[in-house]
C-alpha cells in the first residue's frame, strides 16, 4: 500500500540545512493501523507530510499503491490527495462560520462532487455527530470538533487516513473515543497512520514506529 525507500528530507532553516529525515525505509500494508511516535523534532510530522503527498522528499522513493509520487507534478499530487488520502490534524482546522455539515462536506467542493445529505449524515453518524449537523464549531466540544474533522477526512472515501496527533488537544475520554473511531475505520478497510505522543494509544495500535533523529529507531 505505502512504501518508503531511503527517504531523505533536508530543508533550510536560516543559514543551516536541517536533515529532518535520514534514510527512512518503511512499508505500511493495506488496512493497517500504525502509530508513529518519537520526541518533538524527530521528523514524525515531516514523514506524515511526505506520506500524504503534501511534501516531497529530497531523496528517495515514495510509492502509494505502486505509484511513485516522488516526481509527480503538482496537479497529480492534488488529485492523489483528493482520491486516496484523508487528513486529520491536532488543531482540527474547522472553518468557524460553516456548520458541521458544511465542514464535513468541504473537501467535496474541491473534488467537484455533490455533497449528498445522506452521505454526510452517514459519516456524521459514524463519528456520533448526527445530532450536531447544524451546529457551528464554536458550539462543539474539542472531541466533537475532532470527530467532525475525522468525518471531513473520510468524505472523499480515501484509502489512507493520516492523523497528526489527533488526540493531542483532547482529554482521555475523548481520546479513547477518537481511537475507537479510528480502529473501527481500520476494520472497515482503511489504512491509518497516526502520530501520537500518547503511549497508551500507541500501545493499542497494531504497529508502533518510533522515529528518532530523522530515522526509524524501533518498530514494534
Amino acid at each position: 500500500m505505502i512504501e518508503l525507500n531511503n527517504i531523505e528530507k533536508t530543508y533550510r532553516r536560516g543559514a543551516e540545512d536541517v536533515r529532518a529525515l535520514r534514510g527512512v525505509d518503511l512499508m505500511i500494508d493495506k488496512e493497517e493501523l500504525v502509530a508513529i511516535t518519537g520526541p518533538s523534532g524527530a521528523g514524525k510530522t515531516t514523514l506524515l507530510h511526505i506520506l500524504g503527498c503534501l511534501d516531497q522528499p529530497t531523496n528517495g522513493q515514495v510509492l502509494i499503491d505502486s505509484i511513485d509520487t516522488s516526481n509527480l507534478p503538482e496537479f497529480e499530487l492534488v488529485k492523489l490527495r483528493r482520491e486516496k488520502i484523508g487528513f486529520v490534524f491536532q488543531q482540527f482546522y474547522l472553518i468557524p462560520g460553516l456548520s458541521v455539515f458544511d465542514n464535513i462536506a468541504l473537501p467535496l467542493l474541491f473534488s467537484n462532487k455533490e455533497a449528498s445529505p445522506e452521505k454526510i449524515k452517514r459519516l456524521a453518524g459514524m463519528v456520533g455527530l448526527e445530532h450536531r449537523l447544524d451546529h457551528v464549531p464554536s458550539q462543539l466540544s474539542g472531541g466533537e470538533m475532532q470527530r467532525t474533522a475525522i468525518a471531513r477526512g473520510l468524505v472523499n472515501d480515501p484509502e489512507i487516513l493520516l492523523a497528526d496527533e489527533p488526540t493531542g488537544n483532547l482529554d482521555s475520554k475523548s481520546s479513547d473515543r477518537i481511537f475507537e473511531i479510528l480502529r473501527s475505520l481500520k476494520s472497515a478497510g482503511l489504512t491509518i497512520v497516526m502520530i501520537t505522543h500518547n503511549p497508551d494509544l500507541a500501545a493499542r495500535a497494531e504497529r508502533t514506529i518510533q522515529i528518532k533523529d530523522g530515522a526509524v529507531h524501533t518498530e514494534v
Partner: protein
Amino acid sequence: MSGYLKLSIKNLLRHRTRSALTMLGIAASVGVLFSVLSFNRGFTEGLADELDRTGLHFMVVPSGCAHEVAALVLHGAVIPKFLDTSVMKHLQETDGVAFSTPILVAQLANPEKERIDLIYGVDMQVLSAIKPGWKIEGAIPTQPNEILLGHEVAEHEGIKTGDVFSETADGEPMIVTGIIELTGSQDDAFVYLPIETAQQLLQKPGAATAIGVKVNDPGRMSEITDALTAAVPGIQIVTMGQVMNSISNLAASARALSLAIVLIAILISAVGVMNSILMSVFERTQEIGMMRSVGASRKNIFRIILEETAILSIAGGLLGIVIATLGSKLIEAFVRSVMPFVPSGNLISFDPLLALGSVLFIMVIGIGSGLYPAAKASKINPVEAIKG
C-alpha cells in the same frame, strides 16, 4: 448557492465590521462616481433643454467674450457693454428673422433701501416664450410701471403681489404684478421689468445688453448671421450651440477635476479592499493549508479569495448606487448652492445603464485588487501553513 459562494460569504461574515467598512469604502467611491457621471449627463441634458426652451437661435451682443454671452443667456450676467437697439432695425430688415427681442441686464443702486437691484429689462410680450419653464404667481407686467420679481428678491424684501417695489425714473410707484416661483437658479435674484422702463432707470435709452433672435429656418442660420455681421459693425453673434459649447467647456473642467478626485477615491478603496483581503488571507494561513491538504488546488484557493473580493465589490457597488440615488436630491441641492449656473430640472436622474456600468467598473477594479491577495493565498505552502 454554489459551495464556493457560500464559503466566500461565510468567510466575509467572520469579520463583519472589517467587511462592512471595506464595503462602505467601495460604496462611497461608487456612489460618488455614479453621482458625478449622472450629474454630467443631467447637466448636459438640462442645459440643452434650457437653451432649447428659450426659443431663440442666436444672440446679438457687443463684441466681447463668448463666456459672457453664455452667462447672460443662462443667468442674466451683467455685461458692462451695451448695444444700440437701432440694431433691431437691421434685424427686422434681415430676411429669415422670425422675431428679435432686446434684453437689458444691469445692476441698479437703490440708495433709499440700501441695496443693489439686479434688473432684467425685456419685452414682456416675449417673456413666456424665452422663459417657458417659469411658474408665475400673479401676472406678467403689461404697463411700464409694472414688474415681476424673482422668488429670492420677493422673499428677502417680504414683498407680495400688488406691493410697491420702488419708483420709476418719473417717480411713479413700481407695482409687483407677479412673483416667479422658486427656480433654484439665478433667475430667482432678478427684478424683471419692461425694457423701456429699464432703459429709463439706467438713463440709457435705446440700450440693450443683447438681442435674442429667432429665425424661420434654422438651416439658414449661418447665412443670416454672416449677412448681419457684414451689415452691422461692432456686434458679435453667438449661436445657442456656441453658448452650449462655452458652458460645456467650463463644465468639462469641473468634470475632469471631479472625475480625477473620484478615481483617487476609487484607488483608495481598491487599496482598502486589497488590504482587507490580504489581512484575512494572513489570518487564515493555517485554514488555507488545511484546505490544500484535503484536496484544494492552488486554483481552488485563488477562486475562493477572488470570489470574496468580487462579493465585496459588487455589494459595495450596489450599496453605493442605492445611497447615491437616495441622496441625489441632497447632492443636487449642494451643487446648486455652489455652482454659478445650473440648469433647472433633475440634475441627477437614475440611469440603469450608468448604474450597471459603475458597478461593473468597481467590480473590475475590486477583482483587480483581489488578484494579489488571491495569488498570495494560492502560493501558501500547506506544510508551512499547517506547522503554523
